[in-house]
Amino acid sequence: MKTVFVTGASRGIGKSIALELGKNYQVVVGFSNSQDKADEVVEEIKKLGGESLSVQLNIEDRNSVDKAFNLIEEAYKHVDILVNNAGITKDNILPRMKDDEWNDVIQTNLTGNFYTSQRAIKKMIKNKWGRLIFISSVVGTSGNQGQANYAASKAGLIGLSKSISKEVGSRNITSNVIAPGYIETDMTSFIDDENKENIIEQLSIKRMGMPEDIANMVSFLCKDESEYITGQVIPIDGGLTT
């Protein structure tokens, strides 16, 4: 059975991806702080007959990423599918944005994914099969006020993924970016009802996205049937960016 590593999988989109993939793969639930919630995800996967374990990592720290991969490789040998989902926001308008706010977001959302991808891809090259899936955001291609750091990090993932797709395509490894729009998670819970209505007004599909909408696409990209799709950015946003 193939092994999937989902970072930031204790809640939100990552959790939904882990639960969906738990039906067909061994799933490593990566988390930074919420051990309890990550273990709940593991238990839920096991209850449905799946195989899973949780691993703590600070994605912004290469040593921590290496340690996590060592643990995974002890249990499951190697990672076949890497879902780079972990991300943070530290919103501020540009004139007021502090160096820390900029650096932290770039380090976690972009550099952290460089660390995990680099570590995972060596084994994928050896196995001549692999899937890299980056969870970016529509903000990465359209920008957003107060999110220069977040948008830059999410746009950076597109260049990272496209470059990887060209480097390793000959080894049956694909790399794609999913760009979610407004998805109901903790990260969007600050949007009040009135703003929500305004957002929904702009969409072709008249509802907020659900984490499952993202998980379903990830599930497809993991399969052999998706082998001719690589280097792409796939928006899942209810028509927001059309």
Binding site: K122, I125, K126, E167, V168, S170, R171
Partner: protein, 79 residues
């Protein structure tokens, strides 16, 4: 391990990992020009070497390696 034995192992790995015909693999053969190994292929054989010989090879050490013979000597020096 003698240099000759290292060469035979290297030859085996090249055949196994990259599907290169054994008669092409000589000490003088250039990895890129003569054996058509691309940069990703080098990564693959290096990982295979590391597993087989239980050693670590740094990026800097690889820069010097152009021929099979140089690879064999690098590995031999690490055993």
């Amino acid at each position: 391990m003698e240099v000759n034995e290292v060469f035979e192992k290297v030859k085996g790995l090249f055949e196994e990992e990259l599907g290169i015909e054994s008669e092409k693999i000589t000490m003088e053969a250039k990895l890129e020009e003569d054996l058509d190994i691309d940069s990703l292929g080098i990564v693959e054989v290096v990982m295979a070497f590391e597993d087989e010989f239980e050693i670590r090879i740094d990026e800097e050490e690889l820069e010097e390696v152009v021929t099979v013979g140089q690879a064999v000597n690098l590995l031999h020096s690490k055993l």
